[in-house]
Symmetry: C2
Subunit: 177 residues, 2 copies
DNA sequence: TTAACATATATAGCGCCGATATATCGGCCC
DNA sequence: GGGCCGATATATCGGCGCTATATATGTTAA
């Protein structure tokens, strides 16, 4: 699923600038299960405008660069509907944390402990974010939020209950991969 | 973390060809939390060989292209050890499934039901794969496997217990995004 | 005061995925 | 027997997308 499709989806929730769409992926409702960045969002919006799937209205601002507000067109809605009916790719989970732990027996114990501490702290932070329902959320967003909450809860439980397994096999002294 | 680093890590478990490394990412021990493909693995191995981080030994085969067996060098081990001490990127979870469900209220109920059924079937398959410990696994691999098991279990539980939330808001008739 | 942060758009460089090309063998179905 | 698929094995092309950066300015905090 390309960034163009994600932008189409973002615009279903209302007109937005590229900057605002980026925020949806960085902090907003999409941030927990999608990613896209400026380097792909701006070109995507330009491509979509060329194809007539969105319209772009420049809004002058005092002492600021113009805002370019994008809106979905009817054609864009149809294109999104079409994309949503296509076969869906499998969920992807990418973890450099687990990759690093594959070599735990070759790493100093302190390094492993610190890594686990950091990961737990990060996940607990995510859990807090996901525990707060927003009145403005659509039912789909609320579902995704609860789904994320369930997964982070399980991850935290697992890590807290099993971290000793990986820490016990780490070496006491310096690393010697 | 680049594919070069992942290849270095793969070679810690023993000499391998590019083809075999690819299999580790596709079906093997890395498949549940990492990805890399031919388009990045072959160039990565060539770059690593140029830098003296791996060596390459061509093995002639009858009526087959030569196997190129790659081995980690001492310098490569040090490089990996160094990479493993660097700050680790956050885990990334990417789900087109959840993205699509954001628009559940705009999709036909049958489509949503089928999607959930497919996702559950796929996750149950993963769960089966992850439930079988392998005597050859290192402790790190075993930990990663159990971690994956915990997450898929939680996902399946959540989906089974909450699918009605999202199915109830889907529309009865045709899509009208 | 000055650094950091937020608003806002845009691009260059490079890494990586997906698809494809090439070549051969074994197994399976018809 | 013939044809097709999947596995083995290497390699590259095209295009997408991330990271970092450039540009410009206002606000907030130290």
């Amino acid at each position: 699923m390309q960034v163009t499709t994600l932008c189409l989806g973002a615009l279903v929730f209302g007109d937005a600038t590229g900057y605002e769409i980026n925020k949806m992926f960085e902090d907003g409702p999409f941030s927990h299960f999608l990613d896209a960045s400026y380097g792909s969002i701006y070109p995507a919006l330009m491509r979509l405008a060329e194809e007539g799937l969105v319209t772009c209205k420049a809004e002058a601002q005092e002492r600021r660069p113009d805002k370019k507000i994008y809106s979905l067109t009817g054609k864009g809605r149809l294109k999104l509907r079409d994309a949503l009916q296509q076969p869906i790719a499998d969920d992807k989970f990418r973890s450099e944390f687990l990759f690093t732990l594959l070599f735990a027996h070759l790493l100093p114990r302190n390094r492993v402990r610190t890594m686990v501490d950091h990961r737990l702290a990060a996940m607990k932070q995510k859990l807090i974010e996901l525990s707060q329902p927003d009145a403005e959320d659509t039912p789909g967003m609320d579902f995704a939020r609860q789904y994320g909450y369930a997964i982070y809860s399980a991850s935290i439980d697992f890590l807290e209950n099993n971290r000793h397994l990986i820490e016990d096999i780490a070496t006491e002294e310096e690393a010697h991969v």
